[in-house]
């Protein structure tokens, strides 16, 4: 019994169970839900959220109440930049990716400098930055949808590339390996965990914590920019609030994936499962053909249920 309990407390196990239950529920509600091509479709949507959540998880693992509320605006900015740089031409995909990633990385670094050099709480810094970027987006686009995805990018995201899977899934897998390598096989990764669990101790052992943290926010920006490229590849064009819907889901995927919001613990594989579970949940709720309000209430209730399983904080009585 105890062993089952320990196993169930493991976020990876829990998220996997949640995914299987949701798949079964979907198949029951609408036969064909768990068909191969449907699952591929779901994974594509989950990949977009998962890439955004990669940056979010880095910032959260880094500790000191790390959080990035500007990812939504950065995703919109990435999509807008990429869309305008490539404007429908296949040859300009690489410059578009570089431009989107470069701009959002730079803004992420500014977030990081605000958090480290000026010691502004991350929630406030990234919230303020969100407002600035949204303002910038209005200036850049004048409020109208703009930019066009190149056909090649669209088929890379939406059409099968290899083994029946679209290219974006291979990108996601590559990012997963990169995240694992970064966090578990480099001194950078170990420093991030050390800093997340005890910043003072990390600083006293000589780690450049400010530099590390600034980089984490830069990486969060970079991942948001890449997510923006995927979003425009998925939908074809972009509008200024296209990324807003990813802000809180990226945080929830991180929490479901077993990354503690207090920092210093968790890994990206859990976050990937979290992103898949979250996408599946939304999809199952859509299949239910409920009214929008019903879906909302169930979505909120399931989130609370997940919190019951592993979003709980330590008891005060020791």
């Amino acid at each position: 019994m105890n062993r089952i309990k320990t196993l169930l407390a493991e976020p990876l196990v829990l998220a996997s169970i949640a995914i299987l239950v949701l798949l079964a529920a979907g198949e029951l509600l609408s036969p064909g839900f768990a068909r191969g091509d449907q699952i591929t479709r779901l994974l594509t949507v989950a990949a977009i959220l998962g890439i955004a959540a990669a940056g979010q998880s880095l910032v959260v693992i880094g500790g000191r109440e790390g959080i990035d509320l500007s990812v939504g605006a950065l995703i919109s900015l990435g999509a807008l930049t990429a869309g305008n740089v490539m404007s429908g031409s296949n040859g300009a995909i690489l410059p578009a990716v570089l431009a989107a990633g470069g701009v959002t990385f730079a803004i992420g670094i500014v977030n990081g400098l605000g958090v480290t050099a000026l010691r502004i709480p991350p929630l406030v810094m990234t919230l303020g930055m969100m407002g600035v970027i949204q303002g910038g987006l209005v200036v850049l686009s004048r409020g109208a949808p703009s930019g066009n995805a190149a056909p090649m990018l669209m088929s890379f995201v939406n059409q099968p590339l290899l083994l029946g899977l679209p290219g974006i899934l291979f990108v996601w897998a590559l990012i997963a390996v990169a995240m694992w390598f970064l966090l578990r096989r480099t001194s950078f990764g170990y420093a991030v965990y050390a800093m997340g669990s005890n910043e003072r101790a990390a600083a006293l052992t000589g780690m450049p914590t400010s530099l590390l943290r600034t980089l984490l926010y830069g990486l969060s920006g970079l991942f948001a920019g890449l997510t923006g490229v995927c979003v425009i590849g998925y939908t074809g064009n972009s509008f200024i609030s296209v990324g807003d819907q990813y802000v809180l889901p990226s945080i929830i995927a991180v929490v479901i994936g077993g990354v503690s919001l207090a920092g210093g613990a968790g890994n990206y594989f859990g976050v990937m499962l979290g992103a898949i579970a979250l996408t599946l949940l939304q999809s199952v709720l859509t299949t239910l053909q409920l009214e929008f309000w019903g879906r909302q209430i169930i979505f909120g209730a399931v989130l609370l249920g997940l919190m019951l399983l592993y979003g709980r904080q330590k008891q005060l009585r020791v």
């Binding site: 502004i120 407002g131 209430i297 909120g300 609370l304 919190m307 019951l308 979003g311």
Partner: protein, 315 residues
């Protein structure tokens, strides 16, 4: 440490006050009729909802928590109030019943948040995001689309005057009075103690969970006040009301010098913060900037103000 820094220590709301005065002066130059009764009244009507939500948010933040669901509570309270008024009839009695139902809705929503965060020990950010989804789902269930008017007696009273002063000014004054009363209660000290050191407060024997719940209930109640004001302004039911107010209220609280980590700050500061946010919008509007630059400049000034306030408070 210079004398100036001594005065400012722990009183970053003084900087917010100075910023507010500067903004009022700039606004006065840009808009010469600012200080006429009508313009002041319409400004207050616009600022009042955020002021009220920011006051409520302060009590949650003081205890070291956060409430992202206040925007959804505003929508739910609005919809409940309007639905009750329309179900009962359109008289004064119906309005009073509707307002009571609205206030109760706010309190119950706050209780629900507080229970989940303080008793169940759920993480506040994700929890209040989730409850916010539930609250707005319920608002959409009760009223799928905007519409359903409130009787004239409601919005006429709200936009009218009492003893020669606008009703909105009375509400503003009453809110400040409520804050002033709370300042004198031991409750506020307990709240700050819980936010400053949860373990310490627990070991002193404070009922930590109850105090945190009370913070959330106050946030729910003040959100309900804000919602009733917005309802007086729009005179109808709107299940999407108050969308942006959750994040703005956090900005206002931070601008007012309350530490997000909890433990120190004041609701008066948040009132100043909310007024500053409102005045930034005013000044930008009257500065005659091209429309597409207004959001950007507003974002930049807000970020600068947030950063500046925190830097000054630390000196």
């Amino acid at each position: 440490m210079t004398g100036m820094a001594m005065v400012l220590r722990g009183r970053s709301w003084l900087v917010t006050l100075a910023a507010l005065l500067v903004l009022v002066a700039v606004n006065g130059v840009l808009q010469p009729n600012l200080f006429t009764g009508n313009v002041l009244k319409s400004n207050l009507t616009v600022f009042l909802p955020l002021v009220l939500v920011a006051i409520g948010q302060t009590y949650v933040v003081l205890a070291g928590d956060i409430d992202l669901s206040v925007g959804a509570i505003i929508a739910l309270v609005n919809v409940v109030t309007v639905a009750v008024i329309n179900a009962v009839g359109n008289g004064v009695g119906a309005v009073l019943l509707g307002v009571t139902a609205g206030l109760l809705t706010g309190i119950v929503s706050g209780l629900f948040n507080g229970f989940l965060v303080a008793v169940m020990r759920f993480q506040p950010i994700v929890t209040t995001f989730a409850t916010g989804i539930i609250f707005s789902g319920m608002a959409l269930w009760l009223l799928p689309t905007a519409g359903l008017p409130v009787p004239a007696v409601y919005w006429r009273t709200y936009s009218g005057s009492l003893l020669g002063l606008p009703v909105t000014l009375w509400i503003f004054a009453l809110a400040l009075l409520l804050v002033a009363i709370l300042v004198r209660r031991p409750f506020l000290t307990h709240l700050a103690a819980v936010g400053g050191s949860r373990t310490g407060a627990f070991q002193t024997g404070l009922p930590v969970a109850r105090i945190r719940i009370q913070g959330y209930v106050l946030a729910g109640l003040f959100s309900a006040f804000a919602s009733l004001c917005l309802t007086g302004e729009t005179a109808s039911g709107d299940p999407l009301m108050g969308r942006m107010l959750a994040l703005s209220s956090i900005s206002a609280v931070v601008l007012g010098g309350t530490a997000l980590a909890g433990g120190s700050g004041s609701a008066f500061g948040s009132v100043l913060g909310a007024l500053v946010l409102g005045m930034i919008g005013n000044v930008i509007f009257f500065a005659g900037l091209p429309f597409e630059y207004q959001t950007l400049v507003q974002g930049l000034i807000t970020l600068a103000a947030l950063a500046g306030g925190i830097l000054v408070a630390r000196r």
